[in-house]
């Protein structure tokens, strides 16, 4: 747990970068500091490992005031990915990653094993071990920066715009991999970004800051999007706040309609009857194992049965239970029939999503 109690930072020259900040970062969570450029994010982050010392108040890691530990000791226990990565240009990737374990006096075998493990963990090809930073792509360098910060397995990580310097596609991949990794390692992480979408995606909690290090709101992404505390926060969340909220809600939150379902062997009469009770002119065909096989229009059945005897149509749009409501909404908007099929694991049929069903959540 990291706690800020009335933390203030005034730089010589009079800039107040942080003003009376109160904040708690719970164990195992990612807290994102987000706000416009120059609002004090980096300053707040760097007060955790004493790269900057507070001019007032108290910063504590696991209850211990950081000012009571010598900076090198303190910093070796806190992983730090700085804005701009800062890999050592004269050292190989393996040597870069080994920096803190070496300082901590690990033996060579242990270091080697750890480096190999980390290179794999962050998704780098094995061949980069003995290369130098300038021989790597921007995305690869970012991964090395993360691996180096993780090297001695610190419980706390500070990450300052770690994915800012790469193109959007690589950034998305790095974000996804980071989240997967975090779900395994469960570190306590302070993550800085100026990008609200990144904050919503990465954060268990988000601290929105304005100039001068003023904390405007501290809440989970859902709470923030549902109830912004003030105009500053609402503005910062942007015009598509509602859609961003939908992106956080899984499709499984919304009840799906059972829909007109028939077995593959059903005759035409049964298909008509089922369609009628659902006031539709088509049926969905689901087999004994619960797998959706396709759908058929009644007028195309030509009075024949069983239903499986005619060529079934493929579903235009399917939505997986893990997808977000935003994805589901998108599917419904582009669907000609205003209906999307919801599938679970192994393509099991779970029901139909309609605009009406979604509208409950959209309000």
């Amino acid at each position: 747990m990291i706690t800020f109690e009335s933390v203030t930072k005034q730089f010589p020259g009079g800039t107040t970068a942080v003003d009376e900040l109160h904040l708690q970062v719970p164990d195992g969570e990612v807290v994102v500091l987000v706000g416009p450029s120059g609002c004090g994010k980096t300053t707040i982050l760097r007060m955790v490992n004493r790269m900057i010392e507070p001019s007032g108040g108290r910063v504590a890691v696991n209850g211990e005031d950081v000012m009571r530990t010598s900076p090198p000791r303190l910093r070796r226990g806190i992983g730090y990915v700085i804005q701009g990565i800062g890999l050592f240009p004269h050292r190989t990737i393996a040597q870069n990653v080994a920096t803190v374990p070496k300082l901590e006096g690990w033996d060579d075998d242990r270091i080697k094993a750890r480096v190999d493990e980390l290179i794999e963990t962050v998704g780098l090809p094995d061949g980069v071990r003995d290369r130098y930073p300038h021989q790597l792509s921007g995305g690869q360098q970012q991964r090395v920066g993360v691996a180096r910060a993780l090297a001695a397995d610190p419980p706390v990580m500070l990450m300052d715009e770690p994915f800012a310097a790469v193109d959007p596609i690589v950034r998305t991949r790095l974000q996804d991999e980071f989240l997967r990794l975090q779900s395994e390692v469960r570190k306590t992480i302070v993550f800085v970004t100026h990008d609200i979408d990144e904050a919503i995606k990465m954060g268990d909690r988000i601290a929105i800051l304005s100039q001068g290090g003023h904390l405007q709101q501290y809440a989970t992404p859902k709470e923030l999007l549902a109830e912004p505390a003030n105009d500053f926060v609402a503005d910062f969340l942007g015009a598509e706040r509602g859609l961003k909220r939908l992106a956080l809600i899984p499709v499984s939150q919304v009840e799906a309609a059972p829909g007109p379902v028939v077995a593959p062997g059903a005759g035409i009469d049964e298909a008509r009857r089922v369609a009628e009770t659902h006031s539709s002119d088509w049926v969905v065909v689901v087999d004994d194992e619960g797998r959706a096989r396709g759908w058929a229009r009644l007028d195309e059945l030509d009075g024949r049965g069983p239903v499986d005897g005619v060529r079934l149509r493929d579903f235009e749009l399917t939505v997986h239970a893990d997808d977000s409501l935003r994805t589901a909404l998108n599917a419904l908007v582009i669907s000609r029939h205003g209906v999307a099929v919801r599938l679970g694991d192994g393509d099991r049929y779970e029901g139909l999503l309609t605009r009406e069903l979604l509208s409950e959540e959209l309000r």
């Binding site: 490992n49 790269m51 900076p71 090198p72 000791r73 303190l74 910093r75 070796r76 730090y80 700085i82 804005q83 701009g84 990565i85 800062g86 890999l87 050592f88 240009p89 004269h90 050292r91 190989t92 920096t99 803190v100 300082l103 130098y132 930073p133 300038h134 021989q135 920066g145 180096r148 910060a149």
Partner: protein, 232 residues
């Protein structure tokens, strides 16, 4: 043509290669002055450059002060030293040190300062102490520039150490000044050629040293940079 023949005579005369005024001894004396002056300049200049580079304080003062060495009229000073101290190698070497200091101090300072702030920052952020940042990061990363400074100094010292002979000391300058006063042209040119060769040898030898002390990752990059520079 005649000069070439005379030069050949001068270089091949057996007497030229033995005794206290033979080429081997003169080269040795010259090398000694150079090593002494460059050595002292490294021992004095490197810590100054590292200190001001690492702390980021006093850089301008250090660079400007040592740059005075550049402005010293070597010839005038050495004659002045002769009138004060007589025939004494120490003042001559001091003069050469003053000449060798500026490139070493300036390059070391600039080398350390030009390590990307993100690099030293991440080093400190991972828990390296100030000394460790200097030793593990700043010095290795600044090594190409530090070595370039030492090479520049050493070559300048080789050329200027010739003046030592003007005040009665040894070294390759003897051939030049004695030849001038006795109007023996081939000896003057022969001496000059030897100085040039020694300067070249110094440059090459230090180039080797540079390859040994500059970390491999930076060598590949500086070679690449040199290639890029040629292409554009």
């Amino acid at each position: 043509m005649e000069l070439v023949a005379q030069l050949l005579d001068w270089f091949t005369a057996p007497a030229q290669w033995t005794g206290s005024s033979g080429i081997p001894v003169r080269v040795l004396e010259h090398v000694l002055y150079t090593v002494a002056a460059t050595g002292v300049a490294v021992v004095v200049g490197l810590p100054i450059g590292l200190a001001v580079g690492h702390t980021g304080r006093g850089g301008t003062v250090a660079v400007n002060t040592t740059n005075v060495g550049r402005a010293i009229p070597s010839f005038g000073i050495i004659v002045l030293f002769f009138f004060i101290f007589g025939i004494d190698p120490v003042p001559a070497v001091i003069m050469l040190v003053a000449l060798a200091l500026p490139p070493i101090v300036t390059n070391t300072y600039v080398g350390v300062r030009s390590v990307a702030p993100a690099v030293t920052d991440s080093a400190a952020g991972m828990g390296l102490t100030g000394w460790q940042v200097l030793r593990e990061v700043e010095i290795p990363a600044a090594m190409p520039l530090i070595m370039a400074g030492i090479r520049t100094s050493a070559v300048q010292v080789v050329a200027t150490a010739t003046l030592a002979a003007y005040i009665g000391l040894g070294g390759l300058g003897r051939y030049i000044f004695d030849g001038l006063s006795q109007q023996v042209l081939n000896q003057v040119v022969g001496g000059a050629i030897l100085v040039a060769l020694l300067a070249l040898a110094t440059e090459l030898a230090l180039g080797r040293v540079q390859r040994l002390v500059v970390p491999r990752g930076l060598q590949a990059r500086s070679r690449q940079a040199a290639l890029d520079a040629k292409l554009t």
